[in-house]
Amino acid sequence: MNWDLAHTGVNTFQAIFVPVCALLAVRTGLRTWRGQMPRFSGVLGILVWSAAAIAIAVPDLTSRVAENLGIRRGADLVSYLAILGGVAVCFYFYQRNRQMENVITECIRREAIRDAQRGPCREIDEREP
């Protein structure tokens, strides 16, 4: 098999990852359409995968956008966006983790209160409030 794609103007990395990103964008779109994921997350996913596909397919585009934003190189723009995205993802998962922690805590609390026990009563202490 001939892996040389130079004559097509497409390098190997682009040949692999543009279709992958495009497929992931389509898959996210389909899942959102079927109601299998929240609309906001779905739209965000489609945008991210589409942007990744476009950025890989047209590398000069990121450089032009970077120049317009006052950043020298397209690679720097991608790095900044990746860092911002990483922070956003970390924050999202922290929030989800806190929500889950609160739910677990509430379950354990309810069980604990339901199963409360009392030690032996003293004479003066027999009545309950």
């Binding site: 924050f91 922290y94 929030q95 806190r98 922690e101 609160n102 805590t105 354990i108 609390r109 069980e111 604990a112 209160i113 199963d115 409360a116 026990q117 009392r118 030690g119 032996p120 009563c121 003293r122 003066i124 202490d125 309950e128 409030p129």
Partner: protein, 237 residues
């Protein structure tokens, strides 16, 4: 509720007073603390926060309520459990008290007296208005930093922002919803007091530091992590 009974002597403390005490692996110390408490108050709920030792057995030898967490959740979660339990039992006043013997039962009547006299919802104990026996300098510094932190981020001026000895009315307790399970709860309570516009008063209390209590208490190095968690919680609220 007879509010005239709120002064000394302690025997005349209101029937609707509940003390919430949180214990984690306190088998060796909680008995003495509970015995002291029972000299002063009738209603005590001990929250065993998933202890590995026989803290629960020690608690159940005495006429107090025991509420057990199946796993260790933290002091904040345990306090909320104790407060919720006391509210279900129609508590009119709730006092939170540490299980490690740092607090003095003699401060409870005085806290309630201040609470009622000021018509406040919270009486917050302050070791810097009262006494902090054998307090290490590192702990003192951390507590001072917590005061500044609370002043900046909650807008509440206190002399001691992380004191576990506090009294609250039923109304005040109903406004408390602790979602921060561990030591951050002290800041969260103050934050909720400020947010709900509840009236508070500070009262001098005595805190006795011992080698045991220092070994189990908050580490000074944890202050930064605690601050970050509080800020994150404010962001996701």
């Amino acid at each position: 509720m007879n509010e005239e009974n709120l002064g000394l002597p302690s025997q005349s403390l209101p029937d609707g007073l509940w003390v919430v005490i949180v214990a984690y692996n306190e088998q060796l110390r909680i008995g003495a603390v509970l015995d002291d408490l029972l000299e002063v108050v009738k209603n005590v709920v001990a929250v065993d926060d998933g202890s590995c030792d026989d803290t629960a057995g020690e608690v159940l030898k005495r006429p107090v309520w025991l509420v057990r967490h199946a796993v260790n959740l933290g002091q904040g979660a345990s306090l909320q459990t104790g407060i919720s339990f006391a509210l279900e039992r129609h508590a009119e006043y709730i006092v939170t008290f540490d299980a490690d013997g740092q607090h003095c039962t003699a401060d409870i009547p005085m806290l309630l007296e201040r609470l009622v006299a000021a018509g406040a919802d919270f009486a917050l104990g302050s070791r810097f208005l009262g006494k902090a026996q054998n307090i290490p300098w590192g702990r003192k510094l951390m507590l001072r930093m917590a005061v500044v932190f609370t002043r900046i981020f909650s807008g509440v001026a206190l002399t001691d922002a992380h004191n576990g000895l506090r009294a609250m009315t039923r109304r005040g307790a109903l406004h408390v919803h602790l979602t921060m399970n561990r030591m951050e709860h002290a800041s969260q309570i103050i934050d909720q007091i400020a947010r709900c516009g509840l009236k508070y008063v500070e009262a001098p209390v005595t805190i006795r530091y011992t080698a045991d209590s220092l070994a189990k208490g908050q580490r000074t190095s944890a202050a930064l992590r605690l601050g970050v968690k509080i800020l994150l919680e404010k962001m996701i609220r």
